[in-house]
């Protein structure tokens, strides 16, 4: 079974600054995907960024980037130039590589990020 750990229940950052959210996971799988989902006050789950475990290159999506350390089983999210709209709960999630995308997501407990004006 997979586990995902987010050790920071809450974080705060000044607008325009950079913040890094931590995530570690435990798995015996060699091939898998990792995700960061954002959940704003509206409660909808929105995909922020994803990483394939077999790729060494870290994924980036505009102001969002990850630091993926496979050996350390670490997958942190960096948000650059933080904006007020980034205020949300952020969940790290794991999906094992299957013959289809029908495998479930395993979520961490989340980090609540507040961006201060």
């Amino acid at each position: 079974a997979q586990t995902v750990t987010q050790s920071q229940p809450e974080m705060s950052v000044q607008e325009a600054e950079t913040v890094t959210l931590s995530c570690t996971y435990d798995t015996s799988e060699n091939n898998y995907y990792l995700f960061w989902y954002k959940q704003p006050p509206s409660r909808q789950m929105i995909l922020v960024i994803r990483q394939e475990a077999y790729k060494q290159q870290n994924a980036t999506e505009n102001r969002f980037s990850v630091n993926f350390q496979k050996a350390a089983k670490s997958f942190s999210l960096k948000i650059s130039d933080s904006q007020l709209g980034d205020t949300a709960m952020y969940f790290c999630a794991f999906m094992k590589w299957g013959k289809s995308s029908g495998d479930k997501l395993t979520f961490g407990t989340g980090t609540r990020l507040a961006v201060r004006p």
Binding site: R43, L47, S100, L105
Partner: protein, 115 residues
């Protein structure tokens, strides 16, 4: 842009009553899921559904729960006899497999309150 839609957005029910939560997945998706989030806690997997049958279910998904795809568009979660601890946000999600990166698209959720 295609999206997953869930109805109702909020449902209040009395303990012991049956509830049906409805979802319309994205039309060309083949895999469907229900997740649950108790207030302030993490999102938990309940069940996955493919080719008109359950492909995986969690320990939470006991005999009180059932899922159905009654027609070509809807995907429902039924809770037969609700308990207070069933109060949570329920998310439906869908995905497709095209050989590209997998992505689960989530609906906006149904907040279930059992009183």
């Amino acid at each position: 842009e295609p999206e997953v839609t869930q109805t109702p957005s909020h449902q209040v029910t009395q303990m012991g009553q049956e509830v049906i939560l409805r979802c319309v997945p994205i039309s060309n998706h083949l895999y469907f899921y229900w997740y649950r989030q108790i207030l302030g806690q993490k999102v938990e997997f309940l069940v996955s559904f493919y080719n008109n049958e359950i492909s995986e279910k969690s320990e939470i998904f006991d005999d009180q729960f059932s899922v159905e795809r009654p027609d070509g568009s809807n995907f429902t979660l039924k809770i037969r006899s609700t308990k207070l601890e069933d109060s949570a946000m329920y998310f439906c999600a869908s995905s497709e497999w095209t050989g590209r990166l997998p992505e689960a698209f989530f609906g906006q959720g149904t907040r279930l309150t059992v009183v």
